[in-house]
Symmetry: C2
Subunit: 298 residues, 2 copies
């Protein structure tokens, strides 16, 4: 097992942790949590969910051209994806004006439809959307070593959860096929829902932004157990990893380091503090370049 991981300290840390857990932790307490964007699938050059949302916003402009007078509809209509990247950069530089425009459009992009209709839109997106630079379908952008790790932990009696800042109901339609993780074990960000005549309708109101300290809170809310294994790749995963590492028995926290420009992407922006914990907190760094024999399964 773990054939797609190279032999070395990272793989050894996983193997040793799994063996300690199986010898000292009750099966129902063997809970593992996985971030998604940048941990289980690619998040560059943009979040996959952003592509889904920009396409939807472009549809909204096509149906109502007057919308194109304002951002982000102007950019979506003209295919100006740079605007969306710059909104994020401006935010890091302290200017939230574009991010606020974007947030309002994003929240309302799929409002006032049933949860079933929302799932149908997500499925339609994944049926033909492709990664813009890697030459593969988004559904083939899951990291093979991580999918192998999910199966490996299951073989030791672990139950795996996805705990992502991404949309809960954006991930759920594809997580079973891509990762073998069913909807009831997907924890993510969400909009509020309204019950009406046997159906649940989406709203444009944010419910959870599942990032940072919210991740451990939502893990407890959903699972009612403290995870003992946690893996992420960004500063928004720090609290989740700390929460796992504060377990009384064996625990393991891993940070995926995107250092593989040849096969995927190389970046540390937004991950600096998480990577610092590798030195200061005994977390395990996963080098995509050195620890993974392959990145994708095909």
């Amino acid at each position: 097992m773990l054939e797609s991981w190279t032999d070395g300290p990272t793989k050894s840390a996983i193997v040793e942790f799994a063996e300690r857990a199986v010898n000292s932790v009750a099966p129902e307490e063997r809970v593992a949590v996985f971030d998604n964007d940048g941990t289980l699938w690619c998040e560059k050059p943009a979040y996959i969910q952003l592509d889904f949302l920009v396409r939807r916003i472009a549809e909204q402009v096509a149906a109502d051209p007057a919308l194109a007078a304002e951002q982000p509809y102007t950019a979506a209509a003209s295919g100006d994806l740079a605007w969306f990247g710059e909104a994020d950069t401006k935010h890091y530089n302290g200017d939230d004006s574009d991010l606020k425009l974007l947030a309002g459009a994003v929240l309302s992009a799929n409002a006032t439809i049933t949860t079933e209709e929302h799932a149908a839109r997500v499925n339609a997106f994944f049926a033909d959307a492709r990664h813009p630079t890697l030459g593969r379908a988004y559904t083939a952008c899951g990291y093979a070593p991580m999918i192998e790790l999910l199966r490996y932990l299951e073989s030791f009696g672990f139950t795996n959860y996805i705990v992502s800042g991404g949309g809960r109901d954006f991930m759920r339609p594809v997580t079973t096929a891509m990762y073998g993780v069913p909807p009831e074990r997907v924890i993510g960000s969400s909009v509020g829902l309204i019950y009406q005549n046997g159906e649940l309708l989406t709203t444009a109101q944010p419910e959870f932004l599942n990032d940072g300290p919210v991740k451990p809170v939502r893990i407890w809310g959903r699972v009612g157990r403290r995870p003992i294994f946690a893996v992420g790749n960004s500063n928004g995963d720090i609290e989740m990893l700390q929460y796992a590492m504060a377990a009384s028995g064996p625990s393991l926290a891993m940070v995926i380091h995107h250092d593989d420009a040849d096969r995927e992407f190389a970046y540390t922006a937004g991950a600096e503090k998480a990577l610092d914990h590798v030195e200061t907190s005994g977390w395990t760094r996963v080098s995509m370049r050195d620890d993974w024999r392959i990145v994708f399964s095909d």
Copy 2:
């Protein structure tokens, strides 16, 4: 199986539903949801959780006698449980003043402790608290026919969830032993939690009041699937039962009718509208008196 159910139309409805489901619904979509208070365990003469909270409020007064100057601390300190019942009656008559005093005290009764400490308080309560009139421990107040039904549905591949207006973290410490339902499948009301240094701390801020239309919203949030079997006993369960009955395939909604003053309690207050649906919506009424050979297992 279902030995504690008498032969008749109610038991037949369950058996026929389970057989239809197993023949036409994928195993992962066989989701069943159970209310708790009055559906899986007794809720009279008062919610079990109210007993837990009143005992805790009495402890707070013992530690700080000045609290006894105001309600509900006065009542808790003097063992005046009638005040708590009257707060509810006044609420039904349009006077919320006592209920507001109660809500504030209830929310703050277990604030600012870790989730582990909260579980320890719950376990200490259940270790020796007894039902005030039925002469049995609260942990022996689960309805034997309903526990048998949980196992029966599991034998047909169903996954059972508890979906209760009661406190999520009040139920979780005992649901595995009492019902065979683990913490990750308990959906209930909750207070907000704060993450701090590897621990989650309770607050006095309400998060979810898991009742009425909130029940289907939380079911989707937690499970990501529509249940096809739902059982409750009060008006706060109506939306959850409607949500299950709106499934495209086989579905069953049941309402427990407390009509058994000899063995448990007889009441319809708060259940009138739910019972109306038995006539108007094809829901199945469960008569505790006629459909159950036994109520408790001992």
